[in-house]
């Protein structure tokens, strides 16, 4: 069951957390996906015309102009709401970074996506509009014609490659403990890439990886096979290299079959 967002705009207004001019309000996160629990926060996003001035002085950095996001926090019926304010211009700049032209460019601006920009791109497909939904509909249409999916796939594959390279070096040095951890991490990123290729995004929220895999149960890596590796079921402390090599082979198969 997902969270009812119909009262979000009214609640923000009553708490003076909504500017007089705004483009849209939407919510995202585990509650919206139906995965929430009693302690889950509600992530609310407000797209404004002008920069919001946070009353709690909480900001985060983005590689945009202006280069900060503003935040507010409030409790509604005992549940914490984290409210994140984006200007319409910042949103446009994020979308401009992931056009097919930028993705095809060796120096494309998609490479400059910051953590919070990537988080936004991973959340938009599952967001719930608190208004009439027209803004979200238009934005999703823009995403669909952009390199949104390719960008998120490649970001995860690059991470998987990086950790796989570490595995090779660590094994060459006989550092098997570190190699096991690096192989686990490479596997996580490879699975994120596989999920993104199938339209399930959320690399920044590894705690929901199994949930996403249950939804997909992909032919390339069925849920049971995924879960066996995730839980290291075949790991032998006397022969860790075998588990490492098997796990990296799965990462390589994902890299081979996932189309960017």
């Amino acid at each position: 069951m997902t969270y009812d967002v119909s009262g979000v705009i009214g609640e923000l207004k009553s708490r003076n957390l909504l500017p007089s001019e705004y483009e849209t309000v939407f919510a995202s996160g585990s509650l919206i996906r139906g995965w929430g629990n009693p302690t889950s926060d509600l992530d609310v996003h407000v797209v404004t015309k002008d920069v919001w001035n946070s009353s709690i002085g909480e900001t985060n950095h983005v590689a945009l102009e202006p280069n900060t996001l503003q935040y507010e926090g409030t409790f509604v019926d005992g549940r914490r709401w984290d409210v994140e304010y984006w200007t319409a211009s910042q949103l446009d700049q994020v979308l401009a970074k992931i056009t097919p032209e930028q993705f095809a460019d060796e120096q494309g601006t998609w490479r400059t996506l910051s953590y919070h920009e990537t988080a936004l791109l991973e959340r938009l497909p599952y967001a719930a509009a608190a208004d009439d939904g027209q803004w979200l509909k238009r934005t999703r249409a823009t995403l669909a014609s952009s390199a949104h999916r390719s960008v998120l796939i490649v970001n995860s594959l690059k991470q998987a490659d990086s950790y796989t390279e570490d595995v090779a070096g660590q094994i060459a040095r006989g550092d098997l403990h570190s190699a096991v951890i690096a192989a686990r991490t490479a596997f996580s990123h490879a699975v994120d890439a596989l999920q993104a290729s199938l339209g399930q995004f959320g690399s920044l929220w590894p705690k929901w990886r199994a949930r996403r895999m249950q939804i997909l149960d992909p032919e390339l890596l069925p849920f049971d096979a995924y879960w066996a590796i995730e839980t290291m079921r075949s790991f032998d402390p006397d022969n860790p290299q075998k588990w490492i090599e098997e796990t990296i082979a799965v990462c390589q198969r994902i890299s081979m079959e996932v189309t960017v």
């Binding site: 796989t164 090599e245 990296i248 082979a249 390589q252 890299s255 996932v258 189309t259 960017v260």
Partner: protein, 104 residues
């Protein structure tokens, strides 16, 4: 399996992927890379690549391809040998000889 990039590739050669090989499938184009070099594989080379599992010999892979495309196996052996030789020289695969009596 120990890889030897200078060893000659023959019908009994077994190829395996090094741990750090990089692979991308860019809209049907398969690109593979070692530490320094990247290659775009042809469609048939990509098919061969998919059969590399550290167990199958060049002959085994050639048989699979000959059956798949209904072509002469001896010719395919030559193609696989040529491909594996090039890839091994650039550390994109590692090769070894199948030990006698190691049927799986």
């Amino acid at each position: 399996m120990s890889g030897d990039r200078t060893a000659p590739v023959g019908p009994a050669t077994v190829a395996a992927l090094p741990l750090n090989v990089k692979i991308r499938n860019h809209r049907g184009k398969t690109i593979v890379g070692g530490y320094q070099h990247f290659y775009e594989l042809t469609e048939s080379a990509a098919f061969i690549w998919r059969q590399i599992d550290g167990v199958r010999t060049v002959s085994d892979i050639a048989r699979l391809i000959a059956e798949e495309y209904d072509i002469d196996q001896a010719t395919v052996v030559g193609d696989v040998v040529e491909l594996f030789t090039e890839l091994a020289e650039h550390d994109v695969i590692k090769i070894s000889e199948k030990s006698p009596g190691s049927e799986v």
